[in-house]
Every structure is written in C-alpha cells, then in structure tokens.
C-alpha cells in the first residue's frame, strides 16, 4: 500500500513553527517535520510526548554503579582479601570514585545506544525520506493527503500564509 504525502518547504523557523501549529489546529495528520537544527517548541507544536530516554539513563546508571560497587566489594573483601596498607577489607570510601566513573560510563553509553536503537540509527544507514535542503537551510512539513481532514485548498492557503517556498507531493510505500 502506498500513501500520498504533501511536503511543504519553508525558510524560517517562525514559518515552520507557525505552519505546524496551524496544521495541528486543523487536525491535519502531520507525518513529520524536518529542520536543520533543533527547534524549540516544535515538540509542543506537533504534540509529541517527551522522550523516555532519561529512564534508560537513570536505570542503567544505577545498574552500573551497583554492579561496580558490588564488584569492588567482592574482589577486595570476599574473593581475595589482601591487606593493603592496613586498610579495612571493605574500603567503601575508596570504592566511590570508580563506582561513580562506571556509573557515568554506563549511563552515558546506554543512553546513546538506546537513542540509536529507538531512532533506528546505525552506521552506514542510508537516510530514509531525505528531503532536499533540510540539513542545510530548509524546513519541511509532511502532511498525509489521505487524511480525512486534508483539504487541498486549505492546506495551500496555509502554506501560502506561512511563506512556503516549495511544495511537492510524494508517494511512499508503506
């Protein structure tokens, strides 16, 4: 099955934010918005939910710290207790620095890998649906034409109102 998508290209941040807000008010199905940089307020304009990546970060950081402190305790106090400078077997304060580092390492790497995973990013991947110029100076909004709320005239007026520089239609296999 294929679907028809309408792509509107804009030149400024205010235009794309405006058109997105407007499209949402019109209940249009916004497939996606593309921008050369992170736009503040776009998530609100599109009605996106906040990411759950902080949870990944928190939990894996916790896991890293827990695992490390356990490992340090196990190696120095249980597996082979060795008297080092008369310090106690369980020198917990001395374990803190490495525990912290490992926590950061786990949290950081796991967050990034989770991000890659959920965003389906991987090395060598050819970009899907690459719109011309959106990594340079263009902003683009994708609307689904098959949507019930989609009205060509309205959309055209909308695009015009927000100074669309270019509009094109796309057919995508789903």
């Amino acid at each position: 099955m294929s679907r028809r998508l309408l792509v509107g290209f804009f030149e400024t941040e205010s235009d794309i934010l405006g058109v997105t807000r407007a499209a949402r008010e019109l209940d249009l199905n916004i497939v996606d918005v593309y921008s050369p940089y992170a736009l503040h307020g776009l998530d609100r304009a599109m009605g996106l939910q906040p990411s759950r990546l902080p949870w990944v970060c928190f939990l894996l950081g916790l896991l890293g710290a827990g695992a490390k402190v356990w490992f340090e305790f196990w190696t120095t106090a249980i597996d082979w207790p060795i008297n080092v400078g008369g310090k106690p077997w369980n020198s917990l304060p001395a374990f803190v620095p490495i525990t912290f580092e490992v926590m950061v390492l786990f949290a950081g790497l796991s967050t990034v890998f989770a991000f890659f995973l959920v965003s389906r990013m991987r090395p060598g991947k050819e970009p899907e649906r690459l719109l011309p110029g959106v990594t340079n100076d263009r902003f683009a909004i994708l609307l689904e034409e098959s949507d019930a709320a989609f009205d060509t005239a309205k959309v055209a007026a909308l695009f015009r109102a927000f100074h669309a520089v270019h509009v094109e239609e796309r057919v995508e296999e789903v």
Binding site: G85, G86, K87, P88
Partner: protein, 1033 residues
Amino acid sequence: MSLLNNTRKTESAPRPFALLTSADKTRYWKSLQEFADQEAFQAEAETEFAQTPLQIEADPSRRAFLKASGFTFAGAILTGCSQAPVHKAVPNLAQPEEMVPGRSLYYASTCNGCNASCGLLMKTRDGRPIKLEGNPLHPLSRGGLCAAGQASLLGLYDSHRLHHPLVRGMQATWEDADRAIGSQLETIRREGGPVRFWSTTVTSPAREAVIRRFLAQFKDGQLVEHDPLSSSAILDAHMLTHGARVLPGFHFEKAFVVASFDADFLGTWISPVQFSRAYMEARNPEMQKEAFSFHAQFESRLSLTGCKADSRTVVAPEQLRPWIAQLAALLSKKAGAVLPGPALPPPAHSMDALAEKLWTARGKSLVVCGLQDVHAQVLVNFINHTLGNYGTTLDLAHPSHQHRGSDAALQTLLEEIRSGKIAALFLHGVNPLAQMPRANELSVALKKLPLVVSFAERQDETAGAAHYVCPDHHPLESWSDAEPVSGAVSLSQPAIRPLAGTRPVVESLSTWSGLRVSAYEIVRRHWKEQVFPRQNAEPSFDVFWNKALHDGVAAVTARPAGARPFDSTPVAAALSQPVAGGGEFSLVLYPKVSMLDGRHAYNPWLHELPDPVSKAAWDNYACLSPAAAARLSLKEGDVVRVDAGADGSLDLPVLLQPGQHDNVVAVALGYGRKDSARFAEAGPRWLNWRKPVGENGLVGTNAAPLLRWQDRSLTYTRSAVRLTKTSRTHPLAITQSHHSLTVPKNLAPSSGSTRPIIQEAVLPAYLKDAAAGASHHEVPSQDLWPRDHANDGHRWAMAVDLNACTGCSACVVACQVENNIPVVGKDEMGRRREMHWIRIDRYYSGPPEDVSVAHQPMMCQQCEHAPCETVCPVLATVHSAEGLNQQIYNRCVGTRYCANNCPYKARRFNWFDYPHEDRLANLVLNPDVTVRSRGVMEKCTFCVQRIQEARIEAGNRGAPIADGVIQTACQQSCPTHAIVFGDIHDPGSRVSQLSRQGRAYRVLEEINVRPSVNYLRLVRNRPEKKSEGENHG
C-alpha cells in the same frame, strides 16, 4: 660439578619485543607432534615463511604488501602460540651425601679481605659460595664482618683474574713456568745470590713456615713483610720501649676512657671489626650505665671513629705529636714524675680535662695513635705505661700478628732492589708499583733484577713488571690458616673447586723447593706439628682438626712476645724531635672503609659503596674543609692540583668535608689502580651516560706517589703541599646532598628547623631518664577504619641501635650480596639512583669546625599502615599476615607511585636493565632471590627469603621459630650488633625487649604509618650543658 637447577634466578615476565626475537639457541615446541619431530617442523616452519611474503617483493603494490604483512602476522600468531624454552635438568652422577640441591651449607673459614683475619662462614649453594658471613665463634670478630670482607666474595667470580701463569707477560703452562723458575732458582742456590720474599704480613703461620723453609734453601733468603696500611711505627716504638717488635692486643672493651690520636680504629685501623665490637661493649647504655666509656678523638680529618667520639678535637697532623707530648707531660705530672726533655707550652683546657679523665680511669683507659711516627708512638707507650694500661687494655701476652710489617725492612729492601743486588724477588699480596712512591724508578729497578715472581691474582701494576706471574688461588679456593692474635688460630678451607688454572702460593713454593705438596697437606701437617701441641684440651689430632675445621677457630696457648718491662729512655728523644710544619696545606692520605689499601680495586661492590662519611662513591677526591675551599674559591667537583713539589702532584676533584682541619687536604689511598680500568664502560649505557672513570681511564687517582719516607717510616702525612685550582671539573657521585637535619636557614619554618629523625641524648640526661632526647611523644592515633587484620602470628620487626652503629657500611654490602642488588655504576650513583636497599644516612650537626656526626641505617620500615601499598594500582606491594611489606617484582608495572609515597624513600627502582652478562660473576647471585628486571620497584623485605627458609625448616622439625634463628643479612654482618631482627609479638624476643626500652623511637611516627623498625637513641658521653671548651677543642 654439575648443578641440578639453574644457577640464576631471573625474572622473566613478558618483554615488549620478546615475541619478535628468534629462538636460535633454544628449541621451541608448539604441540606434541611437532615437538616429537622438531627438525621436520623446523623445516616446515621455515618454508612457511620463506615462500610467502618474500616472494611477493617482486610485486611492489601496496595492497600486496599489506596482504603479505597481514598474512605474516597471522602466520606468526599461529606459529607463535605456547612457546616455551626447553630447559635441561642435569643431576649429579653421584650425589655427595651432604649436598642436597637447593640447600645451603655453611663452612667456617677465615677472611682474607685484609690482614685482620676475621672469622668467616661461607654460605655455599650447589657447590659455590654465594655469601660470606661473620663467624660468631671467632674470638676477635665475633660474628661481624666488614664491607670489604663481604665483598671479597666477588673476587672469586672475577673473570679478569689470571687463569694461568704468565711467563714474561705471555700465557704459559705451570710446567713451563716451574721449569724456568726452577732452573733459575737452582742457579741461585749454587751461586748464593740474595732471595727476597716481599709480602704483606703473612697472617698464615703455615704459609709463613713454607716461605721460611723455601727461603732457607738459599744462602741469603729473607722474608720482608710490609703492610700497605702500615702500623710499623707502633711495632718499632715497642721495640724501643719494650725491647720487642710487637703489636699489642688492644682491648677497647675494657677501656672506660679512650683517647685516639688519628687512629681510625672503627674504620680501617688494624682490626676494625674486632675493635668496633669491643668498643661498643663499653658503650652500651643499658648494660654499662655509669661505666659508659668516654672517647676523645684527635684528628685532622673526619674519620669514622671521629664520628663516634664524645669529644673530637681537630688538630693539624703535624701538631698531633706535640699534643700527645702535652698529654704525656700532664699525666707524668699526675704520676708524680717529671717528663724528661724540653718544657712544653701550657696545655689546652680540654687536654687537662682529658688527662684528668684518663688518670681517674688508670688501668681502664686506652690511648691509641695511628700516626706513622715512632716518636709519637713512643710517647703513647709512655702514656699507656704511666696509666698502667699494659696488662689490662693493652695486651703484650697475646700480641697481634695482624700487622707485622716493618717499614725499615722495606726501605732496606727497596735499596737492595735499586742497587740490583737481589737475585730473586717474590712478591705476594703487595703491589709496590701502585703502593710505593717513586714507582717509575722502582719499576725500572725491578726489570733489571734477574728473577721477579709475582703471585698476583690479577695482572696488576707490579705483575706487569714481573718476569713470572704465578697466580695464587682465591682464598675461597684454597687451604690456609691464620693466627691474627697470638693464641687465636683459625683455618681457611676451600668452598669451591678452583675455577681457573691457578695454584696456591704454598704449592708453588713447595714445587720450587723440589717436592710439590698440596696446600691441604701443608696446612694439616703444620697444624699437627705446630698448632696441635699448643693445646691440651684435645688429645687426638684428628678430633682437634675436625673440630677446628668445623668451628673455623681453635684456642691454643699464646706465644710470648718477649717484651721487656717499659724502658723510658727513648721518651726524651721522642720529646725533643722537632715539629714539622710550614706551608698552607698539609696532605693526609687515608684509607677508606671500602677500598682500604686498594687491593679491592677490582671490586664493583666496594666502589659502589658510598663512603660513610663523605657519602661519595666511585672516586677518591681531595677533602677540604668548607672554609678552606671558600678560601681557594673551590666548589665541590672542581679539580684541584695537590702539588708536593719534587715528589709530584695529583689532580683531584674537591669534596667539602666539614669537621676537617682548615689547613689539611685529605686524599684516599687505594684508587687509580689498574684493576679499576675494567670499569671504563660500567653502568647502563644510554644517551646521557657518563664515564665512570677519570681521564686516566681508572677509578680515582692513585695517591701513593705522595707517600713520604721519614725516619725509615712510610708516613701518610706530608706538610707544605700547594693547592692550585684548575679549570677542569670532575663530577662526584655523592649520594647525600643535604647533610644536616636542620633545614636551610632561609626556609626554616616557625615550628622549628631541626627534624627529629635522629634523636640523641647525652649520658647524664639518659641516666636520669631513659627516654631523654625524645622529641614530642605522640600516641599512635586511632584509625578511621575498623581493624580488619588479625595479626596473631609472628610480626617481624627490627631494632636499630643508633648508639651502636658506627656507620661502617658492612650491612650495605651484606644486603647487596644477599639480595642480588645490581651495581649501577658511578653515573647512576651520581644521579641519585643508587640501588642499595639499606643505606647509611649521615647527618652533621653543630658548627662546621666542631661537627657532631650521626649515622642512621635506613631501610624499608615495613610500615603497618604502609603508604606505598595503598597507592599501588596492581597489588604489587601488599602486606603479609606477618607484618611484612611485600614487594612482588613480577607483578610490578613500575609506576613509581609507591616510591614517591614512601616517607623514608626506601624504595629502589630499576631504571635500566642492569648488566648481568658476566656469566662467571652471575654465579655469585643468590638463587633464593629473584633478579629484578628493568622497570620494577624493589626494596628491603627483611630478607624474607631467610624468613621463609626458617619457617619451613621449623615446620619440618615441628618446632616454633626460635628468636635469633632468623638473622637478616645486615644484622648478621653488623660488627656491633646494632641491628636486631625478630618477632615483636614474642615478648621475650630481643627485638621486643629493645623496642620497649626508653631509648626506642620510631622515625616519623607522627605521620602514623606505624613503622616496624625501632631506632634506639644515640647516647653521647657529653656533659648535659655544653659550656665553652668543655669538651670541644
């Protein structure tokens, strides 16, 4: 003799390029099949490589190259897995019963490091001696052994030793040499020319008998004894005053007041190990209390003995005799007699006090003099006689045979040599061309003699001028005996089969006498005929012999010296001698504890040993007082010319020596020897490597040309030398650059400027309070953490008595031998990278003209809260259950963090791979201690190998380790027993007793690292408050 196991323990952790080196000598195996057919595999492996990458060279493309290298690498990995060298284990054909591979055996013997003839225990392992220790049964050395004695072991494994006789400098067989010498001697026997045997004092009665028998074949055969460090004047003075040329026995242990005029009896004078032990017996504050001896030293340079003195007076060398004369006058006045001879200037106040002390301690005092001046010695004899010391502290009934040399006889001999009258000259133990002034003249004269035979072990200066060199065995290879003090006889036995084609002197002499007898036969026969009859305790010679062989020593009746009662006639003449003087500087030649007379110039251990006073290694130098150097605007390391006019001059680097007379330049003897030419390339080679030798290609400069004949004595002092600064410099390897516990004035903090590293007390204060001299006493604070480490077994600890330590450095060499510590060479020493695990810190205090000196042996303190352990990332240094701070070399990655964090800086780092190429010298390595590789930290471990051995032995017997069974190497060698090691958990052990004493303190205990080494405070017999001129001249 075949050895079961590898004779050398090397540390063989992976090296970076080890994988890339080919194994051309050792065979490698990879799998069993391949191993079974090594040759085939070898061929296969070779073709595997030969056919691949090399043939691609025709195709120069980069791709091909990359491919080829990739393939090569993969192939290398494939073939490189699990390679291990094959090692052979070769057992004996027939196992001697007492020899178990891996077990050490100890044999008693006699030391040959100098003429003092201390008792030895030779530790042998698998048929080779690996360590010399003191023999506790020996009546003189009583278990001590000095640095030179310890180090003499290395001479055995010296690859530069002569391995065959030389006939006119050419290698020859013994048959050739014997034939040639024999025929010449035959001629002399017929024609009757004079034959002279020139030797150092022959301490071996058996050898002396052989020499005398040999000389008796000739019409005019004479034994001329001469000691390079001569005590001839003492003997000559006794000839004058007591009618016998005798060296009395000195009993420092019985002396409550000791006055020494330039006699370095704790360092190098006659028998330092014996004297140190005896001296310290009279100075143990716990045992002696009030009877603690008082020691006054009069000297022109700072000697080791001067460092220990309670009162030290700096006197120009020429003025020493007048000072003795004053003392003599004072004492004779007290005795109610008037000293014959001219009137003397009024005495110094300090002299008066000393005279009073000596007089009070009549019969329990001792005045000694190291001057080579018969008149001074006569006066000293007079003083000792007046004090009634003969018979108590001076023993003429058991005279010493350690120094018998006669300078007068030597002078006669030299005249004979110069006149060319001598038909045959034999040289043993002497090296006159290096030890005599005007050596060139002598060399020419020697060459003109018809027959000169040297018994030198190495091709030294004189051996080069001899017609025949018939190398003697190393003392550890041959049978001999000694009688250092009349009545105390000891045996020497071989510890190893001769390593080279050498022959004992006694065998050479017996061969030339017509009948070759083995040294063993000679010694045994001598003992049967001469020694055995002098004792009654044992009726059977075999039992006597076996016991003497086992113990190393035996007691027999002394031979009377034939001394007559004191005759005061020579005193008047001695008093009326004019006093030499003039010139701005006087030269004092002195021996160092390491190099002595230079006979050990081949020995890298001794060169590497820092002088305990100057802390300089690998050189001799012109010691000048800081004031004198300032006067001449000389800095340390500037080369100065010491000009003695017609007798020549020496160019030497300057060393600033506090405590020295401002008009004296002191230079050590024994340097600049041909034997030291081998060190031209010593030390690790790298970009900035500096030669360890001077411009002459030798270590140091030979000062012997400036020895001086006076009144038929070869004296070590000389007036009126001129010092001129040259434009050159010569860096010195000085291992301590800050000499005092007081920080520089401009950096002195408000909290005090002197550090309580060495604590000391004066005797009166100590008697009131045993803890006198303590700095602040801090109770070890609580830990921040729980005590997890149960320590209920042994806990090893050490106590070091600073009062007993003389700084003689025997421990340093003992540790070096025991622990396979490499020799790093002058350059590294100068860069402060010495490797000694135990070092002797030397601190001066007081003004430069009146310095007090303290020595402190410093080694790893085995801290309970070791700061080094916490910081090691790889657990290469951790604590043992018995309180040891372990260092695991093979785990060490070499971050040096531990060394940085050591408050005592007791850790040593292997900056380079130190040379171990000399396979012969490697035989000296202790197989119980790993040889460390480059990049590894090392340090003292309280001789953990000895602890382990003792533990295992005790375990095998099922008995606990008794106190005193484990002796660390440093402790074993210490002549004064300043170091005690043991289990501090055993309340009865010596070490815990000492650690509970009032004198005990721990260095830097305020930083709560809890060291396991307790130092015992130094006690000086000085009045509590120093008033001017009371004790210090």
